[in-house]
């Protein structure tokens, strides 16, 4: 059971520009049940990514309690559970081949060497990169690099999968294919996913539930359940209507 429970999460950034501290997150409560796909939606600067950083152990100074699969994310020992993370940029190590990039995280997560080849091959196959295992990242297009990053995140068999605007750097056509691929894989694996985005349509297409954030200070404004049947379809007119009303909600315009 990889459920996530965040209670009273508060984060203050101190910097030269903000000597008194900038309140990035103000008492955020968020709970995600096992196998749920949740999108955090909001404009930039509303603290969505900070939530991911806390969950992934990158951000260790915060107030509040964070539990994943019943285990408390401690402030100093990092995370006692496996995280898969897909960043906005692919963040592949450029000097390693695609295969070695995936093996790098398998080794970091202490996964037995005997499993590496099978896992890597299976995931590269799944994301359509079977023939590119020995290529270096610079030989791949942006979309293929991000596929590698997705394969890498799933290959560690994470308890939770965190995605930080993973398709926002891609052109829309590639991003569409990638969203469909992600949903296919998610339906097969049913990982608990937290997906950060500022794209309302993307959020409606992907999520079971959309959590809308408002900025300065970062707070949860609304929790919207998306009750569209899966598998979903880009051409679905209900998806379109839904995304229009969510967009209106986020931008503050009234729904007609």
């Amino acid at each position: 059971m990889a459920d996530i429970a965040v209670q009273g999460l508060t984060k203050v950034y101190r910097s030269r520009a903000h000597p008194d501290g900038l309140l990035a997150l103000d008492g955020v409560d968020l709970s995600v049940v096992d196998q749920e796909f949740v999108c955090l939606l909001g404009p930039s600067g509303c603290g969505k990514s900070t939530v991911l950083n806390v969950l992934s152990g990158l951000e260790q100074r915060y107030a509040g309690e964070v539990k994943v699969a019943g285990k408390v994310v401690s402030h100093n020992s990092g995370h006692p559970f496996r995280v898969g993370y897909v960043f906005q940029e692919p963040r592949l190590l450029p000097w390693l081949t695609v295969r070695r990039n995936i093996e790098f995280v398998l080794e970091s997560e202490d996964i037995a060497r005997s499993e590496w080849r099978e896992r890597t091959d299976a995931w590269l196959h799944r994301v359509g990169l079977r023939d590119f295992a020995e290529a270096h990242p610079h030989e791949l297009s942006g979309g293929m690099q991000q596929r590698t990053a997705i394969a890498r995140a799933f290959a560690v068999d994470p308890e939770i999968l965190l995605m930080d605007e993973p398709f926002s750097g891609l052109d829309e056509l590639t991003a569409r294919t990638m969203r469909e691929l992600l949903l296919e894989i998610w339906l097969e694996t049913r990982k608990t996913v937290i997906f950060v985005t500022h794209n309302c349509f993307e959020a409606c297409f992907l999520a079971d539930r959309i959590v809308v954030f408002s900025p300065r200070p970062g707070k949860i404004r609304k929790d919207i359940a998306i009750e569209l049947a899966r598998p979903r379809n880009y051409e679905d007119s209900r998806l379109f209507e839904l995304s229009v009303s969510v967009t209106h909600y986020v931008t503050g315009k009234s729904v007609s």
């Binding site: 152990g57 995280v83 000097w95 359509g128 056509l173």
Partner: protein, 270 residues
Amino acid sequence: MAIVTEREFPIPASGNRLRIPESLSIRAASLVVLVIVWQLASIAVSAKYVPGPLPTFAALWDNAQSGALMKHFTVTMVRMLLSFAIAMLVGMAIGTVMGLYRRAEQSLDLVVMVGLTIPGLCYIIVSFMWLGLNDRAAVLAIAWTTFPAIAINIWQGVKAIDQRLIDMARVFGASNWRRTARVVVPQVLPYLMAASRFGLGIIWKVTVLVELLGRSDGIGYMLNYSFQMFNMADVFAWTLFFTLVMLVIELAILKPIERRLFLWRPEIRA
């Protein structure tokens, strides 16, 4: 649903394999032309002022036979390598600290820049005046002249480290040591390589100068000796020998290391 869209075919590999022999033959041809021009110049001016390739190689051969070549070459190499090691250590330490801490950067960047600007000759004279005409002073002077260039390269390299890749490794559970060895070091390596390049380039020039001014052996001393004797063939022979050694180090050591390390960087491989 097709998984790979048509847009995502990789960049085709260019014909690097074919170009290597071609570039080699061009280089060989340019060397041949150089030797011919040298010979022509010798005929045009006079063999006394511009000894041709044959007398030069003959002088080189004589020096090799007498054992002088090996003796002075060894002395020069030992001085160079020792100074190089010291300059690399000091340069790496200073460069790393400057790259990591803003305070260190602010207090040291001017110092390093000034260090780079002062002519090597000044360091040499000061070292000899402080420590006397001995090898300790020679090594000090050479290392002193060289380390600022190394520090600057390492400084830039440490500053250019991509924190995002380190964060990625941390999220996926890589230990502190592993992040350093597998994510940080490979990022700094190209700069380390550039630093040693710069360092060696400076060291060649300073070492002969040091030997000319304050030592009684080494290639720099022999160049000066040949100058005093007005033995132009020997001057040419020592210069030629020095150039050959530099070329061998470049082609047999530095280039292969670079090729192995940076196979993944298209701009260097090309």
